[in-house]
């Protein structure tokens, strides 16, 4: 039995080829391969990576959140809402900064002009007050078709008490050829959270489908599409059945179940650093506001590989709360213009087969030059000392987040940066049992998939 494990992020995809040994265990058939997606597509790169590897199945986890920030969500998603509440999804948005004087909203999740009121009403006990007249849906469908809108969310008040109207409208739009999304039922959360969840599900769909199509083309002729499985919060699924929002959490669930004795898993991935704990949560504070999303608790660390390093007013270079992306990326990638946390580790990473090809000599020289210039204008004049201090700040910041957010107990440090930062973190948290795991995420994905299949 041979399988492929793939973890697809916003800018990188990690591919691991796995082979079953004589004891029936999956082992890596080679080093994991890292594809830099702005330059290498899955479609063109996967055939080269696989070469003559004959796989029986591919198991995929995704985490493409950053990619979604690049464009406004919901441009092609419509909402059909109980009349009188058609503006509620926009007024009930979460605050990204609360307060009296300068409150700010989270990013809009959908377009207001694509919210359509429908006369229907069900009360909190589930009694029908105003029946849904299906003929009122026809003009909406016509308008959506003429605007080439393909996805429709049905948001009716009190649908969890009686879903008759919701089902009727969903059926109507399905027969009209639309992709229909209905909110999940969750007793603890309000309609705002549920509606936001289904709108996100619909809005993520486009990006998910792009990834899926790219992947399927990359595996064309090597693997039938029925043998490709995506992991969402529940389990591995055929792509069509995978929850788009849930797929962002697939790896979290794999990590928690792969290390059953750990209180928390610190995932120091190539693109993002986060802490996943065993504690369950019913909601997720997404960049678009709180949504219904049950599963293990995830905390995104304050310091990320793409955190900006900048001089503060006192002349000290500090880790800035602002995060950049991998496009154009850190200075050492050659095209970036900003000094990022990733750059602090570029020397060590040059030895790493996975990303060294993304770091041309000119990029590394650029980083050195930038560091020297930064030193000239900051309080620490020696580049080596500054580098050492900033690396220690990164470790302290991570340790602080772990100590604050993880209950006492064993901690697993996993991911791309685990071999680089693990020892330092162990020193900073002497009271905690720390287990280092340098296995690639794609390898864990493959093992979880294989175990699910068997």
């Amino acid at each position: 039995m041979q399988v492929i494990g793939i973890h697809i992020g916003s800018s990188f995809a990690e591919v691991c080829l796995m082979r079953e040994n004589s004891k029936g265990q999956l082992t890596q058939a080679g080093e994991p391969v890292y594809l830099y997606l702005p330059r290498q597509t899955l479609k063109s790169s996967l055939p080269k990576v696989l070469s003559d590897f004959k796989a029986d199945a591919a198991f995929v986890t995704t985490q493409f959140l950053e990619r979604l920030f690049d464009f406004r969500l919901g441009g092609s998603t419509a909402q059909v809402v109980t009349s009188g509440c058609e503006n509620w999804p926009f007024l009930g948005s979460s605050a990204s900064q609360r307060g009296w004087i300068h409150p700010t909203k989270t990013q809009p999740i959908a377009a207001r002009e694509l919210s359509f009121p429908v006369d229907e009403r069900i009360d909190s006990a589930g009694r029908v007050i105003t029946p849904l007249d299906e003929t009122s849906l026809h003009p909406i469908a016509e308008k959506l078709k003429s605007s080439e809108i393909k996805r429709v969310c049905i948001h009716f008040l009190n649908a969890p008490a009686n879903s008759a109207h919701q089902n009727q409208a969903a059926e109507f739009f399905k027969t009209q050829g639309f992709d229909v999304f209905v909110p999940p039922t969750c007793a603890d959360l309000t309609e705002a959270h549920r509606w936001r969840r289904s709108t996100l599900e619909a809005s993520f769909s486009g990006t998910f489908e792009e990834i899926r199509a790219d992947l399927e083309k990359g595996l064309e002729g090597l693997l039938p599409t029925e043998a490709i499985f995506f992991r969402d919060r529940g389990n591995f699924q055929a792509p069509a059945k995978t929850s788009r929002v849930g797929s962002l959490f697939g790896l979290d669930e794999i990590l928690v179940s792969h290390f059953p004795k750990a209180t928390a898993v610190l995932d120091l991935g190539l693109e993002s650093w986060r802490l996943v704990t065993r504690k369950k949560q019913s909601s997720w504070e997404s960049p678009w506001g709180c949504i219904e999303a049950e599963g293990s608790t995830r905390f995104d660390l304050r310091c990320q590989p793409t955190s900006l390093l900048e001089k503060d007013s006192a002349g000290d270079v500090v880790i800035h709360p602002k995060k950049e992306g991998f496009e154009p990326g850190p200075l050492c990638f050659g095209r970036g213009q900003k000094f990022l946390v990733f750059d602090l580790f570029s020397e060590d990473l040059q030895q790493h087969g996975g990303v060294k090809q993304q770091m041309p000599e000119s990029g590394v020289a650029k980083k050195e030059f930038f560091l020297t210039t930064l030193c000239r204008n900051s309080r620490t004049k020696d580049p080596a000392k500054l580098l050492k201090r900033l690396r220690s700040d990164v470790l302290e910041s991570i340790a602080w987040d772990v100590q604050v957010h993880a209950e006492e107990g064993p901690l697993v440090i996993h991911g791309f940066f685990a071999p680089l930062l693990g020892a330092g973190l162990k020193e900073l948290m002497p009271d905690r049992e720390i287990i280092l795991n340098d296995e690639a995420s794609a390898s864990l994905t493959a093992k979880a998939g294989r175990s699910h299949q068997s």
Binding site: G84, C85, N87, W88, F90, L91, G92, S93, S94, A95, R98, G99, W100, I101, H102, P103, T104, K105, R121, D123, S124, I129, L157, N158, T190, E191, A192, D316, V318, R389, D393, E396, S397, W400, Q403, V404, H405, E407, E408, M429, D431, R432
Partner: protein, 455 residues
């Protein structure tokens, strides 16, 4: 350099709570509340609780009355001992306030709720429908205690570390204030027969507030602890500083508040009835002074008066509705309006309203009336909520007070919140005490006001 400090830990661990306060060794470590009200009341609550009850680790005291540090009205607060004082290790205490609408009007003295691990179940039962919320708050506090007091953080809770932290903070805050313009400015807020007079002085890295000349309260009143929290929180929010208060805030932001005036009400006044409105009036007065002093950013007046109503039906707990007013405009941006901009954990939901009361929501929207003619930057529009009564009931409407402040001329007037009740198409007027007797089929429309614009 990453700072490992008890204050930062307290902020990190408490960030999901609505209002919270940490006291260590009898000194304020951090307190926070969006309105500022409980940021001042909770430290007082911890002092009262520790003065009257010898709290041991894990013991809890329940607070309600604002004169003894409780949050009053429709809220409750819990004080917990995280660590008793032991030798050179100072005692660590935490308090948090939360929304408990069914306790509206309930009078409660401070009550020990958990002693030696035993919860007073009789008190729990007496609190009725808010019991699950109370248990949730206890669980949150217990989790925070376990995280804060674990071995890894023991070095942060020593007298030495805390003293160093406090002196560092005072130094930082002095530095920050020294960057602000110096000067002296006065402002007044008049509301009926009541007057709040503010003199703001910034000098020698110190901000001083003098409220001499403020009248005694006839309708509105605040305990001194509340005044302190509101003033300091408003200044910090205005300056864009982190809003949690610390001991440094008290030392670098002094206040002179004559005894007996409405901002330092004697304890015989309950203060509870108009606590929220009184807090909003004080914030508006402080902001009027800040507008005249800090002219770096041109901005409209903040509307601190949300549309507030309480619905009551037979055999049901009262339900309070609060619809936020729009936010103020600045030169750079127009104001916004959205429902969940202030109250963490008490956000409005049409389904929640219908599940709690026999009503049917007919409309949730933005107010369509323009806030003022020819505004350069418009304030955030108010919101509108309409619902139909399915059973007879009663509604209490908190009228926004008619007040006037000394502001800048380029600011437009605020639009205030309104209520409208229609019975078979005809408007119904309320009683003198602000209550309305409602009949089945009545349509109630609540509208919140706009934020200030710039003309």
């Amino acid at each position: 350099m990453i700072r490992f400090e008890a204050g930062l830990l307290a902020e990190d661990l408490s960030k999901d709570l609505h209002s919270w306060c940490w006291m260590v060794g009898g000194q304020l470590l951090r307190s926070h509340c969006l309105t500022g009200l409980e940021a001042g009341l909770l430290p007082h609550g911890i002092q009262i609780a520790t003065q009257f009850f010898p709290l041991k680790k894990g013991d809890l005291v329940l607070l309600k009355d604002p004169q003894v540090g409780g949050p009053g009205r429709d809220r409750l607060a819990l004080v917990q001992c995280f660590r008793e004082p032991q030798g050179s290790n100072p005692g660590v205490f935490m308090a948090s306030g939360f929304y408990a609408p069914t306790t509206l009007g309930m009078k409660l003295p401070p009550i020990p709720l958990r002693v030696n691990g035993e919860v007073n179940e009789a008190v729990m039962a007496a609190l009725g429908p808010c019991e699950p919320r109370l248990r949730k708050e206890i669980a949150s506090q217990d989790r925070i205690r376990d995280l804060a007091m674990k071995k890894a953080f023991q070095s942060l809770w020593t007298e030495k570390a805390l003293a160093e932290e406090t002196s560092r903070e005072k130094r930082d805050m002095k530095e920050k204030i020294s960057e602000l313009p110096e000067g002296e400015i006065s402002a007044e807020l008049v509301c009926g027969k009541e007057l709040i007079r503010v003199r703001l002085e910034v000098e020698d890295s110190q901000i001083n507030f003098n409220f001499t000349g403020t009248t005694a309260g006839s309708i509105h009143a605040l305990p001194l602890a509340a005044t302190s929290g509101i003033v300091r929180s408003t200044v910090r929010e205005w300056l864009g500083w982190p809003r949690a208060l610390s001991a440094a805030c008290a030392s670098q932001m002094s206040m002179s508040t004559p005894t007996g005036c409405m901002l330092n009400a004697p304890s015989k006044n309950s203060c509870e009835e108009k606590l929220g409105t009184s807090a909003s009036l004080l914030k508006a007065a402080v902001e009027a002074a800040l507008h005249r002093w800090d002219r770096r950013v041109n901005r409209g007046l903040t509307n601190y008066f949300d549309a507030k109503a309480i619905l009551q039906f037979a055999d049901r707990a009262p339900f309070s509705i609060s619809i936020p007013s729009g936010s103020a405009a600045t030169d750079a941006s127009e104001g916004q309006s959205f429902f969940d901009q202030r109250a963490l954990g008490m956000g409005f939901s049409p389904e929640k309203l219908e599940a709690s009361c026999p009503v049917l929501v007919e409309q949730v929207d933005e107010r369509k009336e323009t806030t003022a003619a020819k505004e350069k930057s418009t304030g955030g529009p108010g919101l509108v909520l309409s619902f139909r009564l399915l059973e007879p009931g009663k509604l209490y409407w908190e009228n926004p007070p008619l007040y006037r402040v000394t502001g800048k001329k380029e600011q437009s007037a605020l639009q205030s919140s309104e209520i409208e009740i229609l019975r078979k198409g005809t408007a119904v007027s309320g009683n003198a005490d602000g209550s309305f007797a409602l009949e089945k089929g009545d349509i109630v429309t609540l509208r919140s006001g706009s934020g200030g614009g710039l003309v």
